[in-house]
Amino acid sequence: MKRHAKIDGPQTDRRLDGMAQGVLGQPLDRPDGPLKVTGRATYAAEVRLDRMVHGVLVRAPRVGTLNGFDTERVRGMAGVLAVLTEGLPRNSAQGAIAKSPPGNEGKAQYVGQPVALVVAETLEQATHAAWTLEVGIMPSIPVINPHAAPTEFPEKKQRDLGDLEAAMAEAAATLDETYHTPTLSSAPMEPHASIAEWDGERLTLHGAYQMLKFNRKQLAEALGIDPSAVRVLAPYVGGGFGSKLGISAEAVGAALAARMLGRPVSVVMHRRQVFEMTTRRSQTQQRIRLAADVDGHLLGIGHDALVSNLPGETFSEPVQQGTDFNYAAPNRKVVHEVARLNLIACGSVRAPGEAVGVTMFEVAMDEMAHRLNLDPVEFRLRNIPDHDPLDGKPFSSNMLAQALTEGAQRFGWRHQPPRSRREGEWWIGTGMSAAVRVNMLTESEARVTLTPEGRAKVETDMTDIGTGTYAILTQIAAEMLGLPVAQVETVLGDTDLPPASGSGGSFGAASSGSSVYLACLEIRSQIAARLGIAEEDLTLKDGHAIHANRTIPLSQILDAPITTEGHVEPGDSGKIARNATYGAHFAEVAVNDVTGETRVRRMLGTYACGRVLNVKTATSQCHGGLIWGIGMALTEELIHDPRDGHAVNRDLAEFHIPVNRDVPDLEVYLLPERDDWANPIQSKGIGELSICGAGASVINAIHAACGVRIRDLPATPDKVLAGLMQIES
């Protein structure tokens, strides 16, 4: 039996609140944790198959027309089995698109593009041969400067409400500043890896992907076969952050080579290839305009963004996604411009849009608060809209005020003028920012089986990319079915199982969680029916049904396992009410007056994400977001060579993500919330919210500490030093 729900409006029954097991929301350890820390969880690159050989991708060293490869020489090298120069995609597929990624049309359109795959008996042989392969290219001049490139203005991303120019002209206080964020990389810990094996016409791919039902279709189309002939397995994924939403060259290459050779082929990207051959977060230029009256009420908001991508790619970093609804103002203008560049493809990276858009907007809000001589917390509180500022629809829930107030209180927020605290060489300051992020629900299915012995199994092709899916789906089923968590097994990451939302856009937990909830609800209904009662009157706890003072073990109710399916789909809910998540970030930093080095001393975040499914994994997501914020603010930048645009610092020694010593004590507080409009479990996304604006609290704290306003991220010592020297002179 299948339980289906299309979410067309508020889900007010809040059934989960009426359950008795008491495991949902608890800080349950990840069931997969012991496997991972003892190395028994097998990640894609660790899969070993009989007769397996190894492929290594080859990059384009420059931009131009592909002009032949010296395959002869390489084919003669020790162990080399094949050199593939056709059929590889130009770049990764975008997320949630059931189409093959684009081919290369005989061109290298960016330096680093995968253009060939060399396959050999051993990884070492394949690697050496790949280095040896000469890529013939008739060079052309790459377009790498967004200001000198052809640009497009996607119609759906422009906004023009009221008259911003007039508001700017009349306002008591205005701001008109331009900000820049660099190219960023998701740099997941696990490199992209695919092991392909054919059984006749059927392909099995052990991969490292986030959205299996789409990955299967992408791969099928790239290979010209039916999706039903493709099985993708990804039970454990070591982080994705968007870079594993769509398939990349390593999957297509492994499948093509395995078909050609009749042997399993493993293709694992080198760390350097992860930076070039998967997707990056576009660099952005953001012009932000604000107009306010004397009381600090916003009259106008302008947010113009220039982003980039390769020609033909539909994705463009949705920088202004949060600007649509963050603050009230009658006059609003958004210009979204996409430059077509010969640089690494852009795609979704953790919180596409808000991660950089909200961050720079929140820096602008801080600047504006200073101009108005207002406490930045108070300035934000004065501008929280009571309905969607674009079209007047209600908010499903807007917790921004609570997040700001609660956060300010827990942090001990005190607004101080810049340069008012000093310890030796160090300026100390605190900064804050708001967090907003759209919330989504996507279609998801799951199967749940309950046995008379009181054991349950959850099955779905959902992925756990380090996020905690195994834990939360186990908890939802245990809560709904009244079982200790040890009695529930969750099986993920296999396209033979019911198709799930996949992990992306922070919709995974709520979407796949809802499908598991629905399947369990169906089981509960069937049990209730056998007892002759209504489902609402049934209590399940510790493997027993409890009703009217009677406690009956499941084994007396069921004579065979019950299997059900749950299927959730988005409906009109999202169109009727604006659905989003909210939070606030607070940071204290120390800035060295001699060197311009910045160290974060403490950071606190308050977030509202609806029902919390597991406080430990949710908090862990928030820690990750805060750390990403530190990195975005202070250290992370994938630097493009000024001549050909190649990523210069494409390794983890020089692409500086924060290390332990950069990360102080992080405090996270999750606000109690139920959002009925969101889905049947009243839960919303958390993984991305905590990065949206996090970096702004650090940037604003730098200003509060030493008076230097950083508008180009990251705030490396050279930039802060330039500001300090300017103040000194």
Binding site: W131, R643, V648, D718, L721
Partner: protein
């Protein structure tokens, strides 16, 4: 990685003889060499593994210390005599890399680690240090982590070692064994080369020559500071670093030794600046003048221009701390 022959040396003499053959390199901790071999930036035909040689140990050498070339960076940093008498060295080591790397990295290998210039690490871009005559990609490219002192039009790379900067301030010497069996001692001051028009030549080692030990002279006492300015709090190479050993007697600077990292093709030392400070009463004005003399010949290449003021300010701050003089 190009396939290579592997040979485990049984004695220092056997090691140097084997390494005298063309396309042969020593391997110690391998933390630098293997990375570069994987990128095929280095592609030796033969590796001579020296890790089983008897080149460990830290021993007294007169009033100084003799540090075996194979002493791991971690052990050297933790040695009680080093921490007591040469704290500068201990701090410099601990400011470098990570605990895991320091456990593997050796004293000899650390001195010979190669530049972190992005282009040197990338076979697809021209680099004079890799192939003389191909040109330098960094001069008009991304040069944020490049040198400001002693550069040439052929190469603007820096030497990345922290340990070497400390050893330079401490007047260390190296003990070398050559393939013909002879031993020589070379001051670290004379060991490294500026890029000039031979950026591929980084030191005065002859083919096959082995570093067997580092010798520290008697301790100089005074205040010792190693200050490293970097992009993140740990696990990043120096943007600029200053090693200082300073002793103040009767209100005058009696001894001063200063070495600088992140700014040149070698650990940088400027005798004229030290001479200027010697016998002077410490003051902020004196430090500012020393800093400006240090950078009189400095030149930036765009993205690394900031290193000039950064070096000046860091030096002044280190001198202030060492002499306990504040503005």
């Amino acid at each position: 990685m190009r396939p290579f022959d592997y040979l485990r040396a049984e004695s220092p003499d056997a090691a140097v003889q084997a390494a005298a053959a063309p396309e042969t390199m020593f391997i110690a901790g391998g933390t630098n060499l293997l990375d570069l071999m994987k990128l095929e930036v280095l592609a030796p035909a033969r590796l001579v593994d020296i890790t089983r040689l008897d080149l460990g140990g830290i021993e007294a050498d007169g009033d100084g210390l003799r540090i075996g070339a194979l002493v791991p960076n971690s052990d050297l940093a933790a040695d009680p005599r080093v921490r007591r008498d040469y704290p500068l060295l201990s701090r410099a080591l601990l400011a470098g890399a990570t605990g895991q790397l320091r456990n593997k990295a050796t004293t000899g290998g650390n001195l010979l680690q190669r530049t972190r210039c992005y282009y040197f690490h990338d076979r697809d871009t021209p680099c004079n240090k890799r192939t003389l005559g191909d040109g330098c990609s960094a001069i008009h490219g991304v040069n944020r982590n490049h040198a400001i002192l002693g550069t040439s039009e052929h190469c603007i790379a820096t030497h990345p070692s922290d340990m070497a900067v400390a050893l330079r301030a401490l007047d260390a010497e190296l003990e070398l064994l050559s393939p013909n069996g002879s031993r020589r001692r070379v001051a670290l001051a004379d060991f490294y080369c500026l890029p000039g028009d031979t950026p591929h030549v980084e030191n005065i080692l002859e083919p096959g020559e082995l570093i067997t030990a580092v010798i520290l002279p008697a301790p100089v006492g005074g205040r010792q500071i190693y200050r490293k300015v970097r992009d993140r709090a740990s696990y990043a190479f120096a943007l600029v670093s200053v090693a200082a050993a300073v002793r103040v007697e009767d209100g005058l600077i009696a001894h001063v030794a200063l070495a600088f990292g992140g700014v040149a093709h070698m650990p940088w030392r400027d005798g004229a600046v030290e001479g200027f400070l010697q016998h002077q009463p410490p003051s902020p004005a004196l430090f500012a003048e020393a800093a400006s003399r240090l950078t009189a010949q400095a030149r930036g290449f765009g993205a690394n221009d900031f290193k000039i003021p950064l070096l000046q300010r860091t030096l002044a701050a280190v001198l202030a701390e060492a002499t306990e003089v504040t503005a």
